[in-house]
């Protein structure tokens, strides 16, 4: 087709930014959390991150090669999935668990549904839940400061113990590799906000609705340190800023994003307060992922000139 008569469907104005750029921004934004995880948990965390990320990229490349598709492993989306999955694993995860999780995320959740842009739920979280159901013991046993099975702050709170809020903000606690430090996660999130990769609607409404839910039903009322501990504990920060905002599995309409955030906050609150385990972010996000087509249908904006009063 000649360059002068290139007829295509909208959008006609194209941004310079590519998928690859966005994925690299996300990777950069995850560096503080990853580095803090390595600093906090030592060399085993580095191994988990390396093995998981590498096997995710290799899985994507091998699958696309075998299926005679264009190999898109260099757009870094598999690397982001792998890194996010690694940050969701306990530092003592054995290598085969990392590889299995990566293969499940890339092969079953992402590629079998059509690859990037077609997956119905967040691949990293899908794999995390797969591993959590399959290897509950390993996924919930946390080693910290050479103390085996030290409880995460959330588990301790659920058991009625008190926790140090400052430690939770900084991240000097047990937990998965990337979730412990709220400060490191926020540093990455601010970078993404400044770059315009994510907007405040989803994480903002997620955190706001979660706080309201905790104040209403948490049984402690307006107890500031309890609310902050709930916010910084578990995967909430990592989930709200990096996984709920995944482009593929979140609504594209503005009102839809707010509705989606509210769903996430309420579900997380329900799972944490009334569920069997202390943590509920990953299930809340993948369940809300499944609601996204419905939310988008509900909040479809009216075209100009339609609707309104007669």
């Amino acid at each position: 087709m000649s360059g002068n008569f290139n007829i295509s469907s909208s959008p006609h104005i194209r941004a310079q930014i590519t998928t690859r750029d966005i994925m690299i921004y996300v990777l950069i934004a995850l560096i503080p959390a990853a580095c803090f995880g390595i600093f906090n948990f030592g060399i085993s965390a580095l191994t988990v991150i390396a093995v998981t990320t590498l096997s995710a990229v290799i899985t994507e490349a091998v699958y696309q090669k075998l299926m005679h598709k264009r190999v898109t492993a260099d757009d870094c989306s598999a690397a982001v999935t792998g890194l996010l999955l690694a940050l969701n694993l306990p530092p003592a995860a054995p290598w085969w668990m990392c590889v299995l999780g990566s293969i499940f995320a890339i092969l079953i959740v992402k590629q079998l549904f059509g690859g990037l842009g077609q997956n119905f739920m967040n691949p990293a979280l899908g794999a995390r839940c797969f591993l959590l159901i399959s290897f509950t013991g390993r996924m919930t046993t946390f080693v910290y400061n050479d103390v085996v099975t030290s409880p995460t702050p959330l588990a301790a709170m659920k058991a009625g113990e008190s926790v140090d809020v400052l430690d939770m903000l900084l991240g000097n606690t047990a937990g998965t590799i990337g979730e412990t430090s709220a400060v490191a996660i926020m540093a990455g999130a601010i970078f993404l906000l400044v770059k315009g990769v994510i907007d405040l609607r989803i994480p903002g409404t997620y955190i706001a609705s979660f706080v309201i839910f905790i104040i209403l039903f948490g049984g402690r009322g307006l107890d500031g340190s309890y609310v902050i501990a709930q916010l910084c504990g578990g995967g909430l920060m990592l989930g709200a800023w990096f996984m709920a905002t995944d482009y593929v599995t979140s609504p594209i309409t503005k009102n839809g994003k707010i509705l989606y955030g509210a769903c996430l906050g309420i579900l997380t609150g329900v799972f944490r307060l009334f569920g069997g385990s202390a943590e509920g972010v990953s299930y809340a996000i993948i369940i809300s992922n499944l609601l996204v087509p419905l939310i988008e249908k509900l909040t479809l904006p009216k075209p100009f000139g339609k609707g309104g009063e007669r």
Binding site: F130, S134, T136
Partner: protein, 240 residues
Amino acid sequence: MEKCKERLYNGLIKENPTFVLMLGMCPTLAVTTSAVNGAGMGLTTTVVLVMSNMLISMLRKIIPDSVRMPAFIVVVASFVTIVQFLLEGFVPALYDSLGLYIPLIVVNCIILGRAESYASKNPVLPSVFDGIGMGLGFTVGLTAIGIVREVIGAGEVFGMRVMPSSYEPVTIFILAPGAFLVLAGLVAIQNKVRAVLAKKGRNMPKTGCGEGCASCGNSACNGKIFAVENEEQKGREEQK
């Protein structure tokens, strides 16, 4: 006799109820947590299927068309009750592990489907062999799913350890999501095999419509799928 052999082949491979017709998904997904449960469920269904096909085929000229469904259900339910008591008396372990799914055989769509589409229109002997073929096809399907789920999810086959002791079972495979994963995987594999065989020139119908509606278990279709298939086939040939 030729007809009987054809019915066996039809049930086991060409129109395998689990992998091709996708009938009876409820027991397929629910009870295949182990190979023993899968085989037990399959054989129980086979017995009921053979007996009900036989009786319905005998009664096919007596049952009025307008009340055939209630009549079929009464026949099937009688045999299921007999089989249930036999299981409870002689293999209580299997009876316990299959639980609720034994009475549910009454509403298994394979049994009603075969009664409706085959046994009520054909003589006794082919109907019996149709029941045997379909039942064994179902048994093979369920046992295959059960074996895969048991190996991955528990490291065992028929209760015997097959994986090395360092193998950690992937528990999700003996839970509900694993049933869907394994069923989808096995269907994908057999679709691939069929595609390869079709390429080599062996004629394998894509759906169960190859023989027309007389031998099809999908009574809800009323010939619609067959018509669509034929149109598609014509369209493909015209394009060539």
